[in-house]
């Protein structure tokens, strides 16, 4: 039965299994002698070894398991970036020991990119070495083609997919999406032509901290502290920390741990940072400020008679179309506060496409428009505004690949295992 699969470069009996009996008849001997192999073929045969496959599977198993355990402390996207979308990951020893022992230190371990690439090479080499079109092997070919597509699909998603959110209060409109994972520093100046001139500093740069000096920025920025997640607490009267004003009180930011991947209520991490702005060149301090994603309003800062809006906000992408939320419907199971369904009734206008129509987006019924898909994600009460809906907006050029892959792999398995089953039943009947 097992002969239908790809065989290792070495014959099965030669793998040095401890209890293998040497008296095994040399079945492979009849195939020899072969014509001399090219060096390329020899290399391929080494790469195609099934033992490598099994080792890679074992390595992947631990990567995925540790990548799950890591989510007890870290957010899922941090873990994805560290473990699955990276060539090498430093796994803390605490995780290595299944969180059973509190040990310091970390070990390097192959990450998702590396293992995925290795598996891909191993798989392609195996097919290059043993490529043969036959009915018996067709299932395997199709399965592996599907797997390749799936792995490439994850690669395309990892590299090119963009996820954003659009939050609209009932009765208001929106024409941009926000990426909750990417808070950015935005400096807006009103130019003489009454257009906003926006300069942004991305998350990664902010996280690194230190001095940010760039010709596009009207001043130098020193990141004193960056908090991935934070809450606002009332400032003690004698605080030296920069504060923000809200509802007539002064507030400071307090660091909170990043929302963990295993938390049952997945909340957005609200970043804050304290910065010191300095005049370009002279290094003269303009002032220290607390910037936080808790607040929607920017800080107004005057430098040399010119006003700037400075804020830490989620990365925005402006769209050519506008969504207006006309109505929000939330239905509950009877006698509970467990929502049964959310629906957003939206009016969509897009002058560039001459679109002007009503659409409804609700649970499990997304809208696809302009290469993006809009999913009903959640409903919340926006203070002072009323009920608001959150739409998840996704652009993923590789979205089709998993569908194709699923179709191929499931079909291939049906063919392959079906053949096995058929032969098995045939033998039983005989």
């Amino acid at each position: 039965m097992q002969n239908t699969a790809i065989q290792a470069g070495a014959p099965p009996t030669a793998n040095g299994h401890a209890t293998a009996v040497t008296a095994e008849p040399p079945r492979v001997a009849s195939r020899l002698p072969r014509p001399p192999k090219s060096p390329a073929m020899q290399v391929l045969e080494v790469l195609a070894d099934l033992r490598i496959t099994v080792v890679l599977f074992a390595l992947s198993l631990f990567l995925v398991f540790w990548g799950t355990l890591a989510q007890v402390d870290k957010g899922v996207w941090t873990v994805v970036a560290e473990y699955f979308r990276s060539p090498v990951v430093w796994v803390p020893l605490k995780i290595v020991f299944f969180r059973a022992a509190d040990v310091r230190g970390a070990i390097p371990y192959p990450g998702g990119w590396l293992l995925g690439a290795a598996l891909l090479v191993n798989l392609l080499a195996a097919h290059a070495v043993r490529f043969k079109v036959s009915w018996r092997r067709s299932g395997i070919l199709v399965i592996h083609a599907g797997i390749v597509i799936m792995m490439l699909g994850e690669l395309v998603t990892g590299l090119f997919a963009v996820e954003g959110n659009m939050s609209i209060a009932e009765g208001s409109t929106s024409n941009y999406t926000e990426q909750y994972l990417k808070p950015e520093l935005a400096v807006v100046s009103i130019a003489s032509d009454h257009k906003d001139h926006v300069t942004v500093v991305p998350t990664d740069r902010l996280r690194r901290g230190g001095l940010i000096a760039d010709s596009q920025l009207p001043f130098d920025v020193v990141v004193d502290e960056y908090m991935v997640n934070s809450r606002l607490v009332q400032a003690p009267p004698d605080t030296k920390l920069p504060t923000v004003a809200l509802e007539g009180k002064r507030w400071i930011a307090q660091e909170r741990p990043e929302g963990a991947g295993v938390d049952t209520d997945q909340k957005v991490d609200l970043a804050s940072m304290s910065v010191t702005l300095k005049r370009k060149g002279t290094g003269q301090v303009i002032g220290s400020y607390l910037l936080t994603t808790h607040l929607l309003q920017p800080n107004w800062i005057e430098v040399d008679g010119k006003e700037y809006q400075v804020s830490l906000r989620f990365k925005r992408t402006y769209k050519p179309y506008t969504f207006r939320l006309d109505k929000l419907n939330v239905s509950y199971y009877p006698n509970t506060d467990k929502p049964k369904d959310y629906s957003s009734f939206i009016h969509l206008t897009d002058p560039s496409q001459n679109e002007d129509r009503d659409v409804r987006i609700w649970m499990n019924h997304p809208l696809t428009y302009a290469g993006e898909t809009f999913y009903q994600s959640g409903v919340h009460r926006e203070p002072g505004v009323g009920m608001a809906t959150t739409l998840q907006v996704v652009h993923n050029p590789g979205w089709m690949m998993p569908y194709l892959s699923c179709f191929l792999v499931a079909g291939g398995m049906l063919v392959h295992f079906g053949q096995n089953l058929y032969r098995f039943l045939e033998r039983r009947a005989a």
Binding site: Q7, P11, E24, L61, M150, T157, D341, C406, N420
Partner: protein, 617 residues
């Protein structure tokens, strides 16, 4: 004429049939003419947890959460039904001094600190207390509850957890006593509780007929007036019969289902089948094996029927939560093993099927303790029958196949180890130079190949290769189902929120199963493992599957968790350790040791065997 063996065989099946039949009849017994028509009352519809259900289900699930049992013991130590408890509980506020509802010892308190807080003496064995016994110290409890609530969930101690648990149980009771739950009066929107209805009536509104009937019934019950109670219940039922005729059939079916407790019944019977299968290896194989097989078919029918009823009542595909996954996995294991047993008739699949069936139903039983009503409503995003039917069913069947393969692996290792033990014993009995060897055992006239010999000369029989083939076959299915199920889950996620794969704990758990299956199958195709290797890997697969099924649920709970989940975590770790041990035993060169015990006859026996596979285990 049937031979004795046949009589016994069908006698076994008939015994199982009788037991099942007696239970079916018992569950269907209606109310006695005289006395309270409690059964009729229990079938009346109420709303709780977002679904219309009979009073019976409400009462049972509440009592199950509070008391850990669906019944309770009254002052005389007599077992009484959940409906009787509910009636007493609902009368608490209406009766002076609280009445019997306050006196029933239903609150289970085991924690010594909590007992101390409430000035209660430990009551080993029962650990049940009535509200009347500690109502004077409710204030102290409230202080502790407020404190425990202010502690972040992750940092709570066991005591904090127990305090909150008890407070929750008391709250469930108080809501019933204040007539705030369940919702009984149907309206076009949310149903109203009797308490709400009474308040509206005080405001001058005409009371709803249902409220009047229920109030009458409660009053008559309190006064011991059976005729009055029965009259009120009849009118109560007539109202729904007229206004909502579609409910009546479903609720009385559900009461029957509750009364029968079919999954508990199946769990018990699977255990008996396991015993029969084991005994069949010792002797009288054909008779016991066939008897157990057909009995298992019978029990599987009950199991199937019970699953179907749940699907009908809930209007959902079979798996909607952890509880239903457990009963579905048990069902799948049993059916798979029945198919194998039909092909191979060696009691191996019978043993595996009955053990996995009984174990998974036991797990389900404990899950129900935590959940109360096991037919809960789905979160909005999960509210889709299409994906529940495809993705969830597929994944659960994948778990099923993994467990079948895993437990077959366990059986393989057990057989290997016991083979060694038997050989050790016989070698000692016969002395090292014993000429007869294994042939000296009494002739196994009624045993088929791989049955009785299975546990003695495992490596020379075909059993080893047969089992390995079974494990391989099931793993192929597991691979297919797990992969398809996992990918379907991805497609659902893509369809629902635009992300095919998010690397979250549950997804990763499913992926681990796929990777593990792929590893085993490729190792086998590459000749790295053979019979024994695949069995050991399948045993380790149980760890992967149990992690995917249960383990991921513990991640968010933290180490200082309490109550059910902490207990479940203990059992999960224990299960995994057992599997590791079994795999470890499986990796010992048992076959070589067994052979070394009896070199000459073994070699002769091996040559006589038709299958050479035994040589490279």
């Amino acid at each position: 004429m049937l031979k004795t063996a046949h009589w016994v065989q069908w006698g076994i099946v008939a015994l199982f049939g009788l037991y099942v039949g007696a239970n079916l009849v018992r569950a269907g017994l209606g109310d006695p003419d005289k006395g309270f028509h409690l059964r009729e009352f229990a079938a009346l519809p109420v709303i709780e947890g977002g679904r219309v259900k009979p009073i019976d289900t409400f009462a049972r699930s509440r009592l199950l959460v509070i008391n850990h049992k669906q019944t309770f013991k009254d002052g005389d130590g007599k077992s009484r039904t959940a409906t009787e408890w509910l009636l007493d509980a609902m009368l608490t506020k209406l009766v002076k001094g609280g009445g019997p509802g306050m006196q029933h010892k239903i609150f289970r308190i085991e924690n010594e600190e909590v007992l101390g807080l409430l000035h209660l003496e430990p009551r080993p064995g029962s650990w049940r207390y009535s509200l009347a016994e500690f109502e004077n110290h409710i204030g102290d409890l409230q202080t502790e509850v407020d404190r425990a609530k202010s502690v972040e969930a992750k940092n709570r101690t066991v005591y904090d957890g127990k305090v909150l648990e008890l407070a929750h149980h008391i709250d469930l009771f108080v809501r019933i006593a204040l007539l705030e739950s369940p919702a009984v009066v149907p309206t076009s929107g949310d149903w109203l509780s009797l308490g709400q209805e009474l308040r509206q009536a005080k405001g001058g509104a005409a009371p709803h007929p249902v409220a009047i009937h229920l109030f009458e019934a409660l009053k008559s019950y309190h006064e011991g007036d059976a005729a009055g109670f029965n009259e009120a219940v009849k009118d109560y039922g007539a109202f729904f019969q007229k206004k909502m005729p579609e409910l009546a059939g479903t609720t009385s079916l559900e009461v029957y289902f509750n009364e029968l407790e079919p999954f508990y019944l199946c769990c018990v019977l699977y255990t008996f089948i396991f015993v029969l299968a084991c005994v069949s290896w010792l002797g009288w194989f054909e008779t016991l094996n066939r008897g157990a097989f057909w009995s298992m078919v019978l029990v599987a029918l009950v199991h199937t029927w019970a699953l179907a009823i749940r699907i009908y009542i809930q209007g959902r595909p079979p798996v909607t939560n952890l509880y239903s996954s457990a009963i579905f996995i048990g069902w799948g294991c049993v059916l798979t093993c029945l198919a194998f047993e039909y092909c191979y008739r060696n009691s191996i699949a019978l043993a595996v099927g009955s053990v996995t069936g009984a174990l998974s139903l036991l797990v389900a039983h404990f899950l129900a303790l935590d959940a109360g009503d096991t037919m809960e409503m789905m979160q909005a995003v999960l509210d889709t029958n299409f994906w529940l039917a495809t993705h969830v069913t597929c994944i659960t069947l994948g778990y099923t196949a993994m467990f079948v393969a895993g437990f077959m692996g366990v059986t393989y290792v057990v057989a290997m180890a016991s083979s060694l033990v038997f050989d050790l014993l016989s070698a000692r009995a016969e002395g090292p130079a014993g000429p007869a060897g294994p042939t000296a055992r009494p002739a196994a006239s009624d045993s088929r190949d791989g049955a009785r010999a299975f546990f003695t000369r495992f490596f020379e029989t075909e059993a080893s290769s047969v089992m390995s083939k079974m494990i391989y076959g099931v793993l192929c299915f597991a691979m297919f189902l797990s992969f398809t199920g996992t990918v379907l889950g991805g497609l659902w996620a893509d369809y629902s929120w635009g992300r095919f794969w998010g690397w979250d704990p549950k997804e990763n758990g499913a992926l681990l199963i796929v990777i593990w299956c792929a590893l085993i199958l490729h190792a086998r195709w590459g000749g790295m493992v053979k019979h024994r290797g695949i069995a050991v890997l399948a045993v380790l697969g149980n760890i992967v599957t149990s992690w995917s099924w249960f383990g991921t649920n513990f991640l968010g709970v933290g180490l200082h968790s309490y109550g059910f989940m902490a207990g479940a975590m203990f059992w999960l770790v224990a299960f995994d350790l057992v599997m590791l041990t079994v795999a470890g035993i499986g990796m010992l060169p048992l076959a070589a040791w067994a052979r070394s015990l009896r070199p000459a006859p073994a070699a002769a026996a091996a040559q006589a065997e038709p299958a050479p596979v035994a040589q490279h285990v």
